[in-house]
Amino acid sequence: MSRILSSLILLLSAITLSAQTKYTISGYVREKSSQESLPGVAVVNLKTKSGTVTNNYGFYSLTIPADSIDLFVTYVGYQPYKAKFVLTKDTTITIELGVVELNTVVITDEQTERVSDGTQMSTVSIPIEQIKAIPALLGEKDVLKVVQLMPGVHAGNEGSSGFYVRGGGADQNLIILDDATVYNAYHLFGFFSVFNGDALKSVELTKGGFPARYGGRLSSVLEMQMKEGNKQEFHGEAGIGIISSRLTLEGPIIKGKSSFLVSGRRTYIDALIYPFLPPDQKFGYFFHDFNAKVNYDVNENNRLYLSGYFGKDKFYAKFNGGPGGASDKASMDWGNATATLRWNHLWTDKLFSNTSFIFTNYTLGIGYEEHYQNDDFTLKYSSGIRDFSLKHDFDFAPSPDHFIKFGVVSTYHRFNPSAIVVRSSYAPDNMLKQKILEAYESGIYIEDDWRLTDRLKINLGFRLSHFNTQKKHYFRPEPRVAARFMLDENSSLKACFTIMNQYLHLLSNTGVGLPTDLWVPATANVAPQQSWQVAMGYARDIPKYKLMVTAEAYYKQSSDVLGYKDGASFLLVGDFEEGSEISWEKNVTSGTGESYGFELLVQRKVGKFTGWVGYTLSWTWLQFDSINFGKKYYARQDRRNDISVVGIYNLSDNITISATWVFGTGAAITLPQAEYSVVDHDPASGQQVLPQNNWQWFVSDYGEKNSFRMEAYHRMDVGVQFRKQMKHWERTFEVSFYNLYNHKNPFFYYIGYNNSGTERRLKQVSLFPIIPSVSWTIKF
């Protein structure tokens, strides 16, 4: 009898085990003082080692068996949250994390962020606080320049914010701010990025292993989230630097329910020099940008966010008082505007959705006016791109073993490659030329982060993308796979495979982010660019030293990448004096690209001493049938060795010192080696023995394309920040030196002469010598 009974108990317990009741813990993770939601926060049940991370809106959902729970929530720079309780029902917990005060020893053995756990590889996230501590050119803190310090990423030119990821072109990076694509992310001809660190909450760069939710570019996704604004108290930050001033204000609209953030920045060199210019000759340059965001918690299950970015650069020149009252005026201005309206909705504690309506616009305008006696001439040139998108994303967390994301996005692109308006009193006909191109780009995706065993986790994803332009439809499937295998508690092996498609092309001659760079759609003649990438890596957390180490090798092959035919120039896609249009399709050619390399990153995000060391070894090739006579050649951005070292040290509560050092192999460029003259064939002179009618051409011999290497680039920047708590605010005074040891890095080469003018020499123009800068910031 007792035997039967014990068998029954065994059986019952087995059933209860298999049909064990599960409950869901869900909620938001917020910053304690501001109530700002925190994305990317790890939420783990230490008991089962199962966990999740918060999404972009700070939401998490974890479904686990009813049992005692040891909940551990951590985020870089914040005090971890710990809670032990018994889970007996679905539970909503809003978790508030407090900022770690500087130099406070975090009382935990756990590392706050781990690289070995996730399936996602080839991703780096950079804390905004680190971005703000790293010394910058002229004191202008720049997100993109910090991104350039990561392995696998490098800058195009000296001082440029443009970046190249794993050998991809500068146009192959998807830069998104609050879901909106930013088409030209640069101010001042590429020297500064448009992103104002004061307004940003998070920055994450994905170089490979792209999750299925991302699409549209081949090489990287740089996703930035704007801060929401403090829901509890009014705060602000103001700064004065060498070239610009900035001001950020944030605070509650309805306490605890709704908040706003506005942040602006403007340069003032134009205002300073204006009074010193002669009255008949005025010129100047400025840029400004403005970020704004408001959000409203409608109720527990619904939230609304409205955010926008508006930025502009303008260069102008005016000349008056010429003979006969002649005057002329020229100007060039360009800028982005983005707006995003988002609605978060919690359907159940396992299903979260976000719906975004997104607008983005980039325009370049050139104006010229001439007045002489009674004649007037006016010319206006403009180009740009405008998008309207609708995006609907779902996060579904049915069990700790599955985290599913799915959604759909559709974008209407309106391209204006060139619009020209000419008014002239010589010719009564006003000229107006404009050709608008329209395109629709859509994607539907699903991905599942699936824990197969304690050691093995995979992320399976699939995206189907569609592009429609000029009656041509492109449907492209994009499978995405990533896997992680835990070797031991702190180390894992990872691998991933992705296919990406890019339906927009950037026409640019310099790759440095000039405002004239122009986005155009794939067409029936110019196919979308496509790439596949495979990467393998090793990730290790070293909790003892709070170090994260990743080593990755990758191989990427791209097809239908865009190249420019010899002699092609896209300074403007249209000769506005003639009113004619240059057919860009005839000036481009499609080819293949290949890049492979190895990246090592040792990073420390917490403690008194933070920073990272990155090393990249890479090769990048291109091959086009009509360039370099079909032979493959090194891309300009091919860079064999690249090293970056970043160190930030909190000397005391009030003093932070920081330094960066970068080294990179020189760019591959084409340099003339010799000159000679040739004539073309003149059929008439040969056949009829006429006087020769052929033309003489004085040409250069360049050897093979990009066969010359520029000098290796290296530079060190240092900075020190002094903070002081005043009565009503905290002030930070910063002194920094860009290019501390004054290394003259070449910006470009040209062929000049020696001092006596007898022999030609290769001359270099370098831009930035040692540049000291100071800035002063107050926070209240």
Binding site: Y285, F315, A317, A330, Y368, L379, N509, T510, T516, Y564, K565, D566, G567, A568, S569, N628, F629, T670, L671, Q673, A674, E675, Y676, S677, V678, V679, D680, H681, D682, P683, A684, G686, Q687, V689, P691, N693, N694, W697, S700, D701, Y702, E704, R709, M710, E711, K744, P746, F747, Y749, I751, E759, R760, R761, L762, K763, Q764, V765, S766, P769, I771
Partner: protein, 278 residues
């Protein structure tokens, strides 16, 4: 206006830029022989220009025409020595003594007393067949000092099937000027194209040339040549057509060469010629 645009990016650079000798090894190359020779079955004289290239870095050399080169053309199981003609600065031989034949391969060999030598091979294509052309000439505007007009040449020919073919269409204005006793020939551009997407078909094209004629002068005719060139002929002309010199905002153009041990071009074409009297 365009100058202002070029100037814009330099505005910022002007404040900080600094110039100096580059701290990097420059490509050290020696002068090389430059061959410049086109052969066609129609030409009555075979002509080659020979010179030296001027290395960009290093001392200046004489890069004018060389007069002491030995230039030999091989082909037709024979060879001919081209001799220097100071009037044309070229090495020449009469085609009557050494015919250039469609389908044959030719080999040019050049050496100079300093020891440099270079050579190149090229194969002569067949002539375009069934070539027909017509001209439609209209005067579009007249003013007190003359008149302007346009001559539209429409032509067609059979493209050989199963191979890539290259064509160059070259029109000339044959004109008479009152101040001159000679008829003058002025080349008015050229058009280069391939038979891509039209292999083996009858290719039809047109070309419009615009002109202005002052009172007292006249344009007598439009001469047209359609050259069926080989790959060398096409690639070379394509690259010089693309050549944009030192425009810093344009991609540098690599000039096509098929010369071993040197630079320049040895290419062949086979053409047809028509005159359209006005």
């Amino acid at each position: 206006m365009k100058k202002i645009l070029y100037f814009l990016p330099l505005f910022f650079l002007a404040f900080t830029a600094c110039e100096q000798d580059a701290n990097v090894d420059v490509p050290e190359v020696d002068p090389e022989l430059v061959i410049n020779c086109f052969i066609t079955p129609q030409d009555s004289i075979i002509r080659a220009k020979i010179s030296l290239s001027q290395p960009v870095f290093g001392s200046t050399i004489n890069n004018g025409p060389l007069t002491d080169a030995t230039v030999t053309l091989y082909g037709n199981s024979s060879s001919v020595l081209l001799t220097y003609n100071a009037n044309t600065d070229s090495y020449e031989a009469a085609a009557s003594t050494f015919p250039i034949l469609g389908g044959n391969e030719y080999h040019i060999v050049v050496s100079i007393p300093s020891g440099l030598n270079a050579d190149a091979y090229t194969i002569v294509p067949s002539a375009p067949v069934n070539f027909t052309s017509t001209m439609n000439d209209t005067i579009t505007n007249q003013d007190p000092s003359g008149y302007e007009g346009q001559a539209r040449i429409t032509y067609s020919f059979d493209d050989p099937a199963g191979q890539q073919d290259f064509y160059r269409f070259v029109p000339y204005h044959v004109s008479y000027a009152q101040w001159s006793i000679d008829t003058s020939f002025q080349r008015v551009g050229w058009e280069l194209y391939t038979d891509d997407n039209a292999d083996g078909t009858r290719i039809s094209r047109n070309f419009t040339s615009y002109y202005y004629v002052y009172n007292g002068d006249s344009i007598l005719a439009i001469d047209v040549y359609l050259m069926h060139g080989n790959y060398d002929y096409y690639s070379f002309h394509k690259s010089i057509e693309n050549y944009s010199g030192d425009n810093p905002f344009a991609e540098p153009t690599l000039i096509y060469t098929n010369v071993n041990n040197g630079l320049g071009i040895f290419a062949a074409a086979n053409g047809v010629y028509r005159r359209h009297w006005r």
